[in-house]
C-alpha cells in the first residue's frame, strides 16, 4: 500500500519583516485541482484571525499566490499578500476587534495551509502547512525603556555604530503605548522613540507642551542620534501634536514631519484631555451608521471650520508629508490637508508640503499588510464608555494605501533625514 504524498507548500522568505513581501507556492498538486489557501493567526489577546483564497492549480500542479488569481474568499484577484491584509476575526469572534502587536520582541506567527476544494474547506484537514514569522524588529535592533526627566516611552535603536537620524513617534488616542511602528522604523535605520503621552492629567497646556519638547530633546541629545536630523511622525491625535510642536516651539526644530490621518484641531490653551472633553460635548451630533457605528467626521468638519480652534499650521517651516484616507469616517483628514495646503500657499511655502490622499482608505493607516479595520471598539477616555467607532475604508483600497504610503513615508524620511534635503522638498 502506498500512501499519497502531500503537496509541497512553501512560504519564502519564511522569516521576514512585516513590511516585506513573501511568496506562497503550492507544488505537487494534481493539475486543475481546486484548493483553498488559508492563513491563521492567534493574536496576543487569543483571538483567531484568518484569511483565505480559492485557487485552481495549473497543468504543472502548481498554485502561486504571487501569479495566480484568487477566485473568492477574503480577497480576490492577483494578491501576493492577500493572505495577510485581508485577515479578519474568524466567524463567531467578539465584535469590534483590532489586531495590534504589543510585544514586538517576538514575531507574529502566521500559519499558512492548503486545503482541498473550495466550499467547506474548513471541514477538511489541511493537505500541507507552513509557518511564517513576521517581525517588527530586525536582528540587532535594541529596545530601551525610557523614563527620564518625567518623559516615558520606548526607544528603538538600529544595529550598527550610529549615529543615526531619529524620529519622535506618536500614536493617537484609545490605546496604550504602541511600539511596533517604532520597532519597524528602527529596523529601517532610524532611532525611533514611541512616546507615551496619554496617561496623565496635565496641570496646564504649557506643562503638557513642555513634555513634548523635552521628549524631542531627549532624542536629539541621545548619543546614538545625529542632533540635526530628528523628525516627527504622528498619526491621528499624534499628528496634531506634531503640527502643534512644529508650529509653536521655539526650542525644537524638527527636520521634517509626517502626519498620518492629519488632525490640526487644538483649541488654544487646552491640554489634550481638555480638548477631548470639548470634543465629547459634540458627540450627541455624531452620525451612527446602519450598524450603529459612531462617526465623528461630520461634527468634526464643523469644528475645524472655525480656524481659531486649530493649530496655525501656516507657521510651519519644515518639509511635511500628509497621508490621509478619502473614506476617513472618523476625522475630516483630507479637508484638514487641504486647509494646510491653503495656509502654506498663502505664506509662499507650499513647496514644503507633500500630500497623499488615498481613495477608499480609512483612518487607521498602518504599516503594510496589516489587516484593515473599518470599525473597532473604542473607550471614551473621560466616560470609560465603550462605543464602536467607524474609521472607514474599504479593505482592498485601504490595504493598497497602507502598502503605498509606507513606501512613500520611508522614501520621504530617507530624503530628508538621510540625504541632504534639496530646495524642492516635494517627493
Amino acid at each position: 500500500m502506498t500512501q499519497a504524498v502531500p503537496p509541497i507548500l512553501s512560504v519564502t522568505p519564511s522569516r521576514a519583516l512585516v513590511d516585506e513581501k513573501f511568496q506562497v507556492l503550492v507544488e505537487n498538486l494534481p493539475p486543475g485541482c481546486p484548493v483553498t489557501l488559508c492563513s491563521l493567526h492567534r493574536s496576543e489577546d487569543k483571538d483567531d484571525w484568518e484569511a483565505y483564497g480559492h485557487y485552481v492549480s495549473d497543468h504543472r500542479g502548481v498554485v502561486s499566490v504571487s501569479e495566480d488569481l484568487s477566485f473568492g474568499g477574503t480577497y480576490t484577484g492577483k494578491e501576493p499578500m492577500g493572505l495577510l491584509w485581508s485577515m479578519r476575526p474568524v466567524p463567531g469572534s467578539r465584535k469590534g476587534l483590532r489586531l495590534r502587536k504589543i510585544n514586538v520582541c517576538t514575531p507574529m506567527l502566521v500559519n499558512i495551509s492548503v486545503h482541498s476544494g473550495h466550499e467547506g474547506f474548513r471541514d477538511r484537514t489541511p493537505l500541507a502547512s507552513a509557518l511564517a514569522e513576521r517581525w517588527y524588529m530586525a536582528p540587532g535592533v535594541k529596545r530601551i525603556d525610557i523614563n527620564k526627566q518625567g518623559v516615558q516611552g520606548t526607544l528603538y535603536i538600529p544595529p550598527g555604530p550610529g549615529p543615526f537620524p531619529a524620529l519622535l513617534d506618536m500614536w493617537g488616542g484609545g490605546a496604550g503605548l504602541l511600539e511596533y511602528r517604532s520597532a519597524l522604523l528602527a529596523s529601517r535605520g532610524y532611532v525611533s522613540f514611541s512616546l507615551d503621552y496619554l496617561w496623565s492629567e496635565y496641570l496646564s497646556a504649557d506643562v503638557e507642551f513642555k513634555y513634548f519638547e523635552t521628549a524631542f530633546n531627549i532624542i536629539r541629545n541621545h548619543s546614538q542620534v545625529i542632533p540635526d536630523r530628528v523628525g516627527i511622525l504622528g498619526s491621528s491625535l499624534g499628528s496634531m501634536v506634531a503640527f502643534d510642536l512644529t508650529a509653536y516651539s521655539t526650542i525644537i526644530k524638527p527636520r521634517c514631519i509626517v502626519c498620518i490621518s492629519s488632525n490640526h484641531y487644538h483649541p488654544p490653551g487646552t491640554t489634550l484631555k481638555a480638548g477631548f472633553k470639548i470634543l465629547s460635548k459634540h458627540f450627541h451630533k455624531a452620525h451612527f451608521d446602519e450598524n450603529n457605528h459612531m462617526s465623528w467626521r461630520s461634527f468634526a468638519l464643523d469644528l475645524i471650520a472655525d480656524p481659531s480652534n486649530n493649530v496655525e499650521v501656516g507657521r510651519i517651516n519644515c518639509p511635511m508629508l500628509l497621508v490621509n484616507g478619502c473614506d476617513d469616517q472618523n476625522w475630516p483628514t483630507v479637508e484638514t490637508a487641504e486647509e494646510v495646503a491653503r495656509l502654506l500657499r498663502e505664506g509662499g511655502k507650499e513647496h514644503l508640503l507633500s500630500r497623499l490622499a488615498y481613495p477608499g482608505a480609512g483612518h487607521l493607516i498602518e504599516p503594510p499588510f496589516s489587516p484593515h479595520f473599518r470599525a473597532t471598539k473604542f473607550i471614551i477616555l473621560n466616560s470609560k464608555e465603550k462605543v464602536i467607532l467607524l474609521w472607514g475604508g474599504h479593505t482592498k483600497a485601504h490595504s493598497d494605501a497602507q502598502e503605498d504610503s509606507w513606501r512613500k513615508i520611508l522614501s520621504f524620511l530617507q530624503l530628508h533625514l538621510y540625504h541632504s534635503p534639496s530646495v524642492k522638498a516635494n517627493l
Binding site: 500512501q3 522569516r15 507544488e27 500542479g61 500541507a128 507552513a130 509557518l131 530586525a138 550598527g160 555604530p161
Partner: protein
C-alpha cells in the same frame, strides 16, 4: 569622521534567512565614486572569529549592490552576491586547522555585516564602520520540530516539517569525524523531508567496545523512521557523506530490510569488502595506512588508501545490483577519498549491469572532499580526529575556495531536486525560487 559619509545606509534582505537562501546586500547614500569595504564578521560557537570582505566603489548614485557590482579584491572578487559568507575564513592570528560546523541548530548563525570607509584589508577591530547590520542564518525553518527519536542503542535527532504529512523520510549519515552533525538533517526538514541524523560514530556500542555498529543499527533506524505516523513508509531515502557513502551503498544494495527510494552519496567510494560488516569496511580502508601521503605542509592525504580501484569484484560494493536512483557527488580535488576514480568505476559497473539509467554523477573540478550546504566556508584542511585514533592531526581535504563554493551551491540545488523528484513524485521538478 568624514561628515559626508556619516549617513551611509546598509541593508541586507532578508535579514533572517535559511542557510541556503540568498540575500541582497545593499549600500545606499554613499558618496558617488567613494571606495568602501564591506565586511562580514562571525563568531562561531567555539569562540573563533571568522571574517570576509570585499572592496567596492560606489556608483554615481552612491549605491553598491552586491548582486550586481564587483568586488575589486578581498577574500573574494568579482560579482559575488554571497561572497561575504562562503569566503569567510578565520581572522589573522587564529590557530590553524579550524572548521566551522554549527552544533546548536535551534539558534541562528549571526553575522555582522559592516561597511567601512576606504579599501581596508586588516585591523578592522580598530576601525569604526560607517554602518552595520546583523543577519541571521537559520538551519531550521519556522515550524520545523526537532526532537529525539528513541532507538535501540541511543536517541537519534529527528527533524519533522510542519503539517499533517505524511512526509518522505531521510536517513542522514555524516562521515567519521568526532561528533554528530545535525545541521544538514535540519535543513532538509526545512525542505519537506522528515530527516533523521544517524549517529553511528558515538553509539553506546562503539564507545563501549571500540568497534563499529553493524547493519542492524541502521536497519533499526530505518524501521523507527518508517513507523513514525507522519512518515511515508514507502518513500525513504538515504544520504551519506564520506564514510557514510560506504554505509549507504551497503544498505541500499545488500540490506533485506532497507528498501530505499533513492540514495545520495557525497565524496565517497564503493571500494569495500562486499558484504563486509561496517567494522570490516572501516578496517579495510585503514589496512592501507601505509599509503598515506603528506603534503608539503605536513597535512595527511588519505585518498590513496583505496587506490588503485580494485578489479576484484569482491572488493567493491556491487552497484550493478542497485534498484533505486543514485546521485553521486564528487569533488575532483578530493584529497581524502578517491571519489572521482570510484565514480568512474561505478559508472562502468552499472553500464555493464544494465542499470546505469539509475545513476547521476555530478563531478566538480577543483572541489574538495567537504561538500557541505551552500554559502558555508570552504575548508581545505583542518584538524581532525577520526574514530579509533587518539589524536587530532591536520588532514588535507582539498578544493580551491571559489570553485568549491560554486560546487556546494550547485550540488545542494541538485540534491534537493533529486530528492524532490524521487520522493515527492517527480511530477514537478521546479527549481526553488530562493536558491
Amino acid at each position: 569622521m568624514d561628515r559626508k559619509q556619516c549617513c551611509v545606509k546598509l541593508s541586507v534582505q532578508p535579514s533572517r534567512g535559511l542557510m541556503d537562501e540568498k540575500f541582497i546586500v545593499l549600500v545606499q547614500n554613499a558618496l558617488p565614486g567613494s571606495q568602501l569595504t564591506i565586511r562580514a564578521l562571525h563568531q562561531c560557537e567555539d569562540g573563533h572569529s571568522w571574517e570576509a570582505f570585499g572592496h567596492y566603489t560606489a556608483d554615481t548614485t552612491g549605491t553598491i549592490n552586491l548582486s550586481e557590482d564587483p568586488s575589486i579584491r578581498g577574500t573574494y572578487s568579482g560579482v559575488e552576491q554571497m561572497g561575504l559568507l562562503w569566503s569567510l575564513r578565520p581572522i589573522p592570528g587564529s590557530k590553524p586547522g579550524l572548521r566551522m560546523r554549527k552544533k546548536n541548530i535551534q539558534t541562528p548563525m549571526e553575522v555582522t555585516i559592516s561597511v567601512y570607509q576606504g579599501h581596508q584589508t586588516e585591523g578592522f577591530a580598530d576601525l569604526v564602520p560607517l554602518s552595520g547590520v546583523v543577519v541571521e542564518r537559520w538551519y531550521m525553518a519556522p515550524g520545523v520540530r526537532g526532537f529525539q527519536l528513541q532507538k535501540v542503542d541511543s536517541p537519534q535527532p529527528f527533524f519533522l516539517p510542519l503539517g499533517p504529512g505524511p512526509f518522505p523520510g531521510l536517513l542522514d549519515l555524516y562521515g567519521l569525524g568526532g561528533q554528530l552533525v545535525e545541521y544538514r538533517a535540519a535543513l532538509l526538514a526545512s525542505h519537506g523531508f522528515a530527516s533523521m541524523a544517524i549517529d553511528y560514530v558515538n553509539s553506546k556500542f562503539t564507545i563501549e567496545t571500540g568497534k563499529m555498529v553493524d547493519s542492524q543499527y541502521f536497519e533499526t533506524a530505518y524501521r523507527v523512521l518508517q513507523q513514525h505516523p507522519q512518515v511515508c513508509k514507502s518513500r525513504i531515502a538515504m544520504i551519506g557523506f564520506s564514510f557514510g557513502t560506504s554505509i549507504t551503498l551497503k544498505m541500499a544494495i545488500y540490506s533485506e530490510i532497507i528498501k530505499l527510494s533513492a540514495a545520495v552519496c557525497i565524496s565517497g567510494s564503493h571500494v569495500q569488502p562486499v558484504d563486509g560488516s561496517v567494522e570490516e569496511i572501516l578496517r579495510f580502508s585503514y589496512k592501507n595506512a601505509g599509503k598515506t601521503r603528506f603534503s608539503e605542509k605536513d597535512e595527511k592525504i588519505w585518498r590513496d588508501q583505496l587506490l588503485p580501484i580494485p578489479t576484484d569484484p569482491s572488493l567493491k560494493a556491487d552497484v550493478g545490483r542497485l534498484q533505486c536512483p543514485l546521485l553521486l557527488l564528487v569533488g575532483e580535488d578530493d584529497q581524502s577519498c578517491p571519489a572521482q576514480e570510484s565514480a568512474l568505476d561505478i559508472k562502468e559497473m552499472m553500464a555493464q549491469a544494465g542499470n546505469s539509467h539509475l545513476l547521476t554523477v555530478l563531478s566538480y573540478p577543483n572541489a574538495g572532499h567537504l561538500i557541505e550546504p551552500p554559502y558555508t566556508p570552504h575548508t581545505r584542511s583542518s584538524n581532525f580526529r577520526t574514530t579509533g585514533m587518539p589524536e587530532k592531526v591536520m588532514y588535507l581535504w582539498g578544493g580551491q575556495t571559489v570553485e568549491h563554493s560554486r560546487a556546494q551551491e550547485d550540488a545542494w540545488k541538485k540534491i534537493l531536486v533529486f530528492l524532490r523528484e524521487n520522493l515527492y513524485g517527480g511530477r514537478n521538478p521546479t527549481l526553488f525560487s530562493h536558491l
